[in-house]
């Protein structure tokens, strides 16, 4: 088994006085796709915010050998902890190319940036075709591609994708899941955050189920897909 990239131990997070996450434990290994699934309001985005240090909490987070607890969001980002936010959050008035380049804002080497850009265009040929179009004019699926591409431009070690499938057609979701499998082979570890439990578990190696702020189940994707509790909770069987 490959080494552990992200380790979360006993994490508690809240907004002001309101506690949201309780005693979260989680491991992500290098090269894995890990799904974090749970219904709306379960606390998935809150966990991502805590991982990217936008929200403080108690507990221990170790990323790639660094103790994240005392780092700022910028420092976490510099270590390769990159988020593709819920709702895409593109720069709507800017072109696809410019959106992608904003992902590389902190990088200085022109040659290396260009190489990453080429690889993003190779993953998403549509983005290349639409590179001079305003991001706001793209379809939902294309916007999600652009958001993922922008994340990849930051050369993440861990790419955290929040609600990738929201509002997209099943065909498009399959395409995007395919891409995640491809980038995993290119040394990018993926944390896939989804309400769409079964879509996420299709490509994930392992998964965590989170309900009202606590992890209720974890295991391999197969175990979770077969689990009666998961089926009952998310399929209504």
């Amino acid at each position: 088994m490959s080494e552990i990239l992200l380790n979360v131990q006993g994490l508690f997070v809240g907004y002001g006085e309101v506690p949201v996450l309780r005693d979260i434990h989680m491991d992500i290994r290098r090269g894995e796709i890990v799904a974090l699934v749970g219904s709306n309001g379960a606390g998935k985005t809150t966990l991502l915010r805590a991982l990217s240090r936008v929200l403080a909490g108690t507990g221990k987070i170790t990323f790639d050998g660094h103790d994240l607890t005392h780092l700022t969001p910028d420092q976490g980002f510099a270590l390769g902890l990159v988020q593709v936010p819920e709702g895409r959050q593109l720069f709507d008035q800017m072109t696809v190319f410019e959106n992608l380049m904003m992902g590389a804002f902190r990088r200085r080497s022109k040659g290396a940036i260009h190489a990453t850009l080429e690889s993003v265009y190779a993953l998403f040929p549509t983005l290349y075709e639409r590179r001079t179009q305003r991001a706001g004019s793209l379809s939902g699926g294309e916007q999600q591609m652009c958001a993922i591409g922008r994340g990849l431009m930051a050369t993440p070690k861990l790419l955290m994708v929040d609600e990738m499938s929201l509002g997209l057609a099943p065909v498009i979701i399959d395409q995007l899941l395919e891409v995640l499998s491809t980038i995993r082979k290119q040394d990018v570890t993926v944390l896939l955050v989804e309400q769409d439990v079964f879509a996420a578990l299709e490509v994930a190696d392992r998964g965590y189920v989170i309900e009202t702020g606590a992890v209720t189940q974890s295991g391999t994707a197969l175990e979770l897909t077969e689990s009666p509790e998961v089926k009952r909770a998310y399929l209504g069987i």
Partner: protein, 296 residues
């Protein structure tokens, strides 16, 4: 006889239009800094005119004390005002970036009052003008008189506008400025530091004001109180042209310049400001996104 009258009327009209366009180029440069700061920081900077006034005095003193030609002094004036703007932003305005509009109006109004008072104390209330040896030179094109300094000021103003446009469109920092304006949260997520971007943007806005002030001192008279009217005109142009692109601001500036020239000729010079702000009100009512902006 009648034909001669038509010809001379045509000539007068072209002269007025040319005057208006030349003035409008400078107006556009004045408004550009205001529009930039407004669009990115969501601050309507009521001290913008005072910054233009300071730029004019920098040009004036460089010319009278050090004998530096005002067009050569332009980069210096811009550099000084960039520093003033950068420090104002870091020191005071960072506290209110993206705050409620009313707070920003109040604070920038305060800055305007302070700068105007300081200017009155240090520079006196006397009218001044930057008067290089070639200030009175004209040349004629198709029977229209072109004052040399106005043409130069127009060309420089346009060049600066284009330079800003290219900077915003094609550089890493320019992109970051636009990205911050469009989606602050996402920009932050990708390592943009808003405070640095805001200070840079405000510095740029002030530098443009400094450049515009230096040019204004060449084509017109200056005193510590010119700021208020210039802020108001810049505001009008920004509204007319919209905040989206420098092109809109250029169109707005030239539009205002032409309207003012026509008003001065056909209605009377005292009505110039009434006409320009009348148009502002009409635009606000009928095309709130600017003349070029989308209709909603």
């Amino acid at each position: 006889m009648e034909q001669a009258l038509v010809v001379s009327t045509m000539q007068l009209l072209s002269q007025i239009l040319v005057n208006g366009v030349l003035l409008g180029g400078l107006y556009a440069l004045m408004a550009l800094g205001l529009a930039l700061v407004w669009g990115v920081l969501n601050i309507v900077n009521l001290a913008h005119g005072a910054l233009i006034m300071l730029g004019a005095y920098v040009g004036y003193y460089l010319f009278t004390l050090l004998n530096i030609d005002p067009f050569l002094a332009l980069p210096l004036s811009m550099a000084v005002l960039f520093c003033v703007g950068y420090l104002l932003q870091r020191g005071i305005l960072n506290l209110i970036a993206r705050a409620a509009m009313f707070n920003t109006l109040l604070i920038t109004f305060g800055i305007d009052v302070v700068l105007t008072q300081l200017a009155q104390i240090f520079f006196s209330a006397d009218f001044r003008t930057i008067n290089p040896s070639y200030a009175g030179s004209n040349f004629m094109v198709f029977g229209v008189t072109l004052p040399l300094v106005r043409v130069l000021a127009f060309v420089v103003a346009l060049a600066l506008t284009i330079a800003l446009w290219l900077f915003l469109l094609h550089t890493r920092l320019g992109r970051a400025i636009r990205a911050t304006a469009q989606n602050l949260g996402a920009a932050r997520l990708y390592g943009v530091e808003p405070k640095a971007i805001y200070a840079l943007t405000f510095g740029l806005g002030a530098a443009l004001a400094g450049g515009a002030g230096d040019l204004y001192g060449v084509v017109s008279q200056i005193n510590p109180y010119i700021g208020a009217t210039l802020t108001a005109k810049s505001f009008a142009i920004a509204i007319i042209g919209g905040l989206e692109s420098p092109l809109g601001v250029v169109v707005g500036g030239i539009f205002l310049g032409v309207v003012e020239s026509l008003t001065a000729l056909y209605i009377g010079p005292t009505f110039v400001d009434i006409a320009s702000f009348g148009i502002l009100v009409l635009v606000l009512i009928f095309r709130p996104n600017g003349l070029l902006g989308a209709t909603t």
